[in-house]
Amino acid sequence: MADASYPDGLLYHPEHDWARVEGDVATFGITWYAQDSLGEVVFFEPPEVGTQTKQGEPYAEVESVKAVSDVIAPLSGEIVEVNAGLGDKPEVINEDPYGEGWMVKVKLSDAGEADGLLDQAAYTATLS
């Protein structure tokens, strides 16, 4: 399992989710803290491409052996791609939460929402 890390340049939601915004598309995932609290991830229930995400609302579920957790959307939009690789290898959510462990890509519907998210410093401050 990877060491604790919170990359700079990502936007963070206080429910331990991150977004990497590139133009009008953002990639979502869960933070190191979230995967660590959950323990070894055994199943990721992906949403369908085309469904809408709403900031602060769950869009997927992630499961460890003895817990289920909602995955919260940091931003609103329409899901344009899901990480199909997580079906066979959900453990990459633990191993590489900001890389291979990404969950969905979303075409953003409200660019202004990003202002409400935290930067790396502000997010890590909530963890201590």
Binding site: G39, V42, F43, E63, S64, V65
Partner: protein, 506 residues
């Protein structure tokens, strides 16, 4: 001691698990089919090819001696109540008297068809009626249905009765309150019965947070589901006030009877104000649990809930002219919620529970609860004396029939989790307590010794816990890697969940 408990593979460990599907050989058999004694008709004419199975199910081909040995050897890979202490909180693992197995196996009970004419099943119906009356007295509620198959099934019955009650009064309500300490079956049941779950908080004493309850109890609440004593082993002293609040908004009060073993003969849910109670016959009334069932979950209800009870109900009809009373099954119940299952319920469990109640009587049942509470408090006191600060009680100094310890200080100070302690207990020959429940307590361990354990057993268990904690002060890795002596060691549960193999590939 710890060395002896950590080294060497035992004979059971050297034996690799082989399933019955991997045993036997083509052509072997245990079953001799009766000969065809009627004139043979063309099978294809009796059952056309389109309806027929083309390939036989790939069941084992195995002789009787192999079959017996396979399952007897498998049985030895189980820990069981008959061979050791089983303080599994909220499960009431009390001794299962063998008398119960003997009487349940009498052909008049065991080979009685459920659709036998009631006139020809009078012994069974009388037994059920008498069990109903006994449970009614124990619960302090006048009416009983034995039908539900387990506690969670009784919960479903109770919430559906609640729905029927409100609907009959022309009311539509949407919410059911459950404390945050509740068994998972409570919220799951609420959803199945079409209601929305609203959680009520817990106060510092481990009881229902009355202010939170007041704030959430309104005319849209159909029911409050409560366990008392609750899953923390705490008797809620505000129960009368809770009942007033719940009844004040017209809701029903539901008693999850999982913890009834704490109060039999001392207090009755009906007298506390509950409208509906479910019993776990496999807990309080010592039905053997079979490694995960069967259970049995009869319910008792107040007068206002009676019209909605499941059908059929048993009626005792007074005999005339000196004839003995008769027992009937009454299906004519227009307001009933209907059926929750086939036939009359898990009758075999009724025979055992009834035998238990007749063996103990009023005094014995009260003694059972009192001794259960005594044993729990004694074990709590012993653990406090022997282990101390690393494993404190989560609430209070006294408990009812079970108590919760928090392994959080142990985790912080010694670096072993509740799970590690539980696994190390296996090497000491004990079944661990319930762990990580209730959810409210960090690193929780819920311990229920029951009344049928001797003081010597309780002492030995406390000493084993103390020994494990002492060992962890020296070397926490021992517990972290436990168990060592069991047929298998820690299993890869994540692997099992990621790539499920749930049947033998054939």
């Amino acid at each position: 001691m710890s060395e002896a408990l950590t080294t060497g593979a035992s004979p059971l460990q050297r034996e690799q698990a082989v399933t019955v599907f991997e045993k036997g050989a083509p052509g072997r058999r245990a079953f001799a089919c009766p000969e065809l004694d009627v004139p043979e008709a063309d099978p294809a004419a009796l059952l056309p090819a389109g309806l027929r199975r083309s390939e036989p199910a790939r069941l084992p081909e195995i002789s009787e001696p192999e079959l017996v040995r396979h399952y007897v050897r498998l049985s030895k890979r189980n820990f069981d109540l008959d061979s050791g202490f089983y303080p599994l909180g909220s499960c009431t693992m009390k001794h299962n008297p063998r008398l119960h197995e003997r009487v349940a196996a009498l052909p008049g009970h065991a080979r009685l068809h459920p659709l036998q004419d009631p006139d020809r099943a009078q012994g069974a119906l009388e037994l059920m009626w008498r069990l109903e009356r006994s449970l009614s007295e124990i619960a302090g509620l006048p009416h009983v249905s034995l039908q539900p198959s387990a506690g969670s099934h009784g919960e479903l019955a109770g919430v559906l009765l609640t729905r029927a009650y409100h609907e009959d009064r022309g009311e539509t309500r949407h919410k059911v309150l459950t404390p945050d300490t509740a068994h998972g079956t409570n919220p799951a049941t609420v959803t199945m019965a079409g209601y929305e779950v609203v959680k009520v908080g817990t106060n510092a004493d481990g009881g229902v947070d009355i202010d939170d309850l007041r704030a959430k109890a309104d005319e849209d609440v159909a029911c409050l589901m409560l366990t008392n004593p609750n899953t923390l082993g705490i008797f809620d002293q505000n129960i009368e006030e809770i009942a007033r609040i719940v009844h004040g908004v017209g809701a029903t009060l539901y008693y999850d009877g999982a913890n009834l073993n704490a109060v039999m003969g001392r207090s009755r849910p009906g007298d506390m104000g509950f409208d509906i109670v479910h019993f776990n016959l496999h807990k309080s009334f010592t039905q053997p649990h079979g490694g995960g069932g069967p259970g049995s979950g009869p319910i008792a209800v107040s007068d206002r809930m009676e019209p909605y009870l499941m059908k059929p109900v048993i009626r005792r009809v007074q005999g005339s002219n000196g004839h003995a009373p008769r027992f009937e099954l009454d299906h004519d119940r227009p307001k009933s919620i209907g059926r929750l299952r086939g036939f009359q319920g898990n009758y075999g469990t009724f025979v055992r529970a009834y035998a238990y109640i007749r063996s103990l009587g009023a005094e014995g049942l009260q003694d059972a609860s009192e001794t259960a509470v005594l044993n729990a408090n004694y074990l709590l006191a012993r653990l406090r004396a022997l282990v101390g600060a690393e494993l404190p009680a989560a609430f209070g100094t006294l408990c009812m029939h079970e108590f919760v310890l928090s392994g959080a200080p142990m985790k912080k100070e010694l670096g072993i989790r509740t799970l590690d302690l539980a696994k190390r207990l296996l090497d000491h020959g004990f079944h661990p307590p319930t762990v990580y429940f209730p959810l409210l307590v960090d690193e929780a361990m819920l311990i229920e010794p029951t009344e049928t354990e001797t003081k010597e057993t309780l002492d030995a268990f406390a000493e084993a816990v103390a020994a494990i904690v002492a060992e962890a002060r020296e070397d926490p890795a021992i517990a972290r890697n436990a168990p060592y002596t069991t047929p298998v060691r820690r299993l890869d549960e994540a692997g099992a969940a990621k790539r499920p193999v749930i049947r033998q590939p054939l």
